[in-house]
């Protein structure tokens, strides 16, 4: 075990996978000499050379499109989007080719590309360096979507994503890049895609969340326990699609109450699907309304961003709503 932050964990995942499998290549803006603007790819060019660590021209559409072509041919590209807010030029390639190439070629070709990049807010990034845009990908059949909340998962999930046969959108909450350090195994391991993690057990209410909001939710649940005696079960979804419905239902059987917390805007944020799934398939478990604590339905603000993001107060409001129903 070594103590690592998330950047180091991701870097070691890439390095180990590139050593293990020469089909793994990295491409993106500034991923080579610069090592990426957050240094996730630092040093890779020195070890693997510029053919496997490609500094590309400034076009996300080109990066993803070319990565898909590389994957069709047999490589395992990991494409970096410098900030996930810049992914939209690639949206046509993602919807048209990445998510559908297996389908539209009758299963003859597939594009196991990992598209990864920093996401989410909290670092004064303003409108275009803070977005949580997972919904666009979760709604797109053919993609898997992942967001780790800690170094251990980041490494294990990235390795699983690279080894899998399906395209994965891999979202990295940039605020967690250096703020959390923990022990990460030096031996090879993966964290399976599709499995949530119960971060904290609790019997009163189920709180489903992911990314940086895992930590906010834990904070809020501490206050809730101290102040009101509520025991909150905190579930880190980790994989946003296919999300772990079993884990949610299992917890709900115990608690009968559901709160979903995410940074993305509320309307059609992933909280909507989780709520709808429960209202459709397990309404009998519910003792109270489902509550969502989310980013607001506005472009991410530079000013007052801390008030845009879910915080302890808003999480506690939601907990009260379902506890005092």
């Amino acid at each position: 075990m070594v103590v690592m932050n998330m950047v180091q964990a991701l870097n070691s995942a890439l390095r180990e996978e590139m050593r293990r499998d020469r089909r793994v290549v990295v491409l993106g803006e500034d991923v080579g000499r610069r090592g990426g603007v957050f240094l996730v790819t630092e040093g890779l060019i020195d070890e693997f050379g510029h053919e496997r660590v490609m500094d590309t021209p400034l076009t996300e559409g080109g990066i993803v499109g070319v990565a898909i072509g590389m994957a069709l041919y047999g490589l395992r590209p990991v494409a970096e989007i410098q900030f996930i807010d810049f992914v939209y030029e690639a949206f046509d390639q993602i919807v048209t080719n990445l998510s559908k190439v297996r389908r539209r070629t009758g299963g003859m070709y597939s594009a196991p590309v990992v598209v990864r990049g920093p996401c989410c807010g909290g670092v004064k990034g303003g409108m275009f360096h803070s977005q949580s845009n997972e919904s666009y990908f979760v709604h797109t059949a053919g993609l898997k979507v992942v967001m780790p909340s800690r170094p251990y998962d980041a490494k294990g999930l990235l390795k699983a994503a690279i080894r899998g046969e399906d395209p994965v959108i891999f979202l990295e909450p940039k605020i967690l890049y250096r703020s959390i350090r923990e022990e990460v195994p030096e031996h090879d391991y993966t964290v399976p895609i599709g499995e949530a993690r119960v971060v904290q057990e609790g019997s009163d209410v189920t709180l489903v969340t992911w990314g940086a909001m895992v930590h906010k939710s834990l904070e809020a649940s501490k206050i809730a326990r101290a102040k009101y005696g509520w025991e909150v079960e905190v579930i880190d979804l980790r994989t946003l699609f296919p999300f772990d419905k079993e884990a949610i239902l299992k917890s709900l059987e115990k608690t009968g109450r559901l709160v979903v917390v995410h940074e993305a805007p509320k309307t059609l944020g992933l909280g909507a699907e989780i709520a709808a799934y429960v209202a459709e398939n397990a309404i009998e478990l519910l003792k109270a309304p489902i509550a969502r604590v989310t980013g607001f339905d506005v472009p991410y603000p530079l000013a007052h961003e801390k008030l845009y993001l879910p915080n302890e107060a808003r999480i506690i409001m939601a907990l009260s709503k379902v506890m005092n129903y």
């Binding site: 559409g61 070319v66 898909i68 072509g69 590389m70 047999g74 590209p77 009758g106 003859m108 059949a141």
Partner: protein
């Protein structure tokens, strides 16, 4: 309804008559040689070229008929553009092709049979693409990646495949084919630029057929030619007579060999003409005159190449007739055979979304099965 035509002469429509821009051509409009080819082409190869175009033309007519009787969803007619086969014949077996939706002769050139093409067009039980889409064709057997319908979206894929081959040290070339319309898309821009920067072993062929549905190519861009775009990416661009199959072959061969030798990409602008409607859903009388089409018919690549072959003693009139007759009969019987094939199972709806179906798909499959039972009960016919 008054149809609105612009007052333009054929010379304006068809850039390749424009003397102001150089055009590579080996056979003129009357079927006479223009320039001696440096490469000696065997009679066998020349005949294969001719037969490939004939097969595509006959198949094209069948697909039109099949669409009319509802056996094919939509067809994008190929007539007039068959010489693209020449470019594809310049590839080797191990090379990859990323075509568009109007290149029947290209698939035939790569070895695809009429039966395979018709199965695909009908989306019957033998359709290799499992009923996922219309008008596109491909098969890994031939290293042909079927096109996405959004035009041009295959361009970066071809460039990526070429870069991958280069990284892996394979001497493999990727070729992609797309229309004049596709050159306006971001995918063309990014694909060309990546190709230039990474010296990708890729051959990019623009089938400039004068029109993108109703937009004439000279309105698609204000550039004098499309080949000239190469300059902006450090990629050599060349303009060829796309109705001259020999010019297509030799130009593509040179480009492929350059790519194989590590010298990077080539952009080929092939000037051709779409004689038919854009697709079976189109009505070209709304935007172009019958006279224009009539004038362009004299540039038919098959007629022209036939004259050339006959003029040089490669093919006799009788052989010519026999080829048409033989393939006419063959293809007719293939169509009949394909008509008898069963349809795809309902389960294709859920196939090939992921490598393994995710839980939501399993739930939804059950919902579908349940609904099929209910439909029986209710006596509702859905399909």
């Amino acid at each position: 309804m008054a149809h609105h035509f612009e007052a333009h002469k054929v010379e304006e429509v068809l850039p390749f008559i424009d003397a102001a821009v150089s055009l590579r051509r080996f056979i003129d409009e009357e079927g006479n040689p223009v320039e001696e080819t440096k490469v000696q082409l065997s009679s066998e190869l020349l005949l294969k070229m001719y037969v490939t175009m004939v097969r595509a033309r006959i198949l094209d007519e069948w697909l039109l008929k099949m669409q009319r009787v509802g056996r094919v969803a939509i067809h994008a007619p190929n007539a007039g553009q068959e010489a693209i086969a020449g470019a594809v014949m310049a590839l080797r077996e191990e090379d990859w092709l990323f075509p568009s939706y109007r290149e029947l002769s290209a698939y035939i050139a790569r070895g695809m049979s009429e039966e395979e093409i018709i199965d695909r067009a009908m989306a019957n039980a033998d359709d290799p693409l499992r009923g996922s889409e219309f008008a596109v064709y491909g098969n890994e057997k031939y290293n042909i990646v079927p096109a996405p319908v959004p035009v041009g979206a295959q361009i970066p894929l071809a460039v990526g495949a070429a870069i991958a081959a280069k990284i892996l040290g394979h001497k493999v070339v990727a070729m992609t084919i797309f229309g004049d319309g596709a050159t306006s898309r971001g995918d063309f821009h990014s694909g060309m630029n990546f190709a230039g920067v990474f010296k990708a072993p890729v051959v990019l062929v623009i089938q400039n057929n004068g029109w993108a549905i109703s937009l004439p190519s000279r309105r698609q861009t204000a550039a004098k030619t499309l080949a000239i775009r190469g300059v902006g990416y450090g990629v050599p661009g060349i303009r060829v007579d796309g109705n001259d199959i020999v010019a297509m072959y030799i130009t593509a061969l040179e480009a492929a060999e350059r790519a194989r030798a590590g010298e990077g990409p080539t952009l080929i602008e092939a000037l051709t003409y779409r004689l038919g409607p854009h697709t079976t859903a189109d009505d070209p009388d709304r935007y172009r005159s019958k006279e224009e089409v009539k004038l362009m018919e004299r540039l038919d690549p098959i007629v022209r190449f036939g004259k050339y072959l006959k003029g040089r003693g490669v093919m006799t009139e009788r052989e010519e007739r026999d080829i048409w007759k033989e393939w006419g009969e063959k293809i007719e019987s293939i169509v009949k055979k394909c008509y008898e094939k069963p349809s795809l199972p309902v389960s294709v709806i859920f196939e090939n979304v992921y490598s393994e179906p995710t839980w939501n798909l399993k739930e939804q499959m059950e919902e579908l099965e349940e609904s099929l039972r209910i439909m029986k009960e209710l006596g509702v016919k859905v399909e």
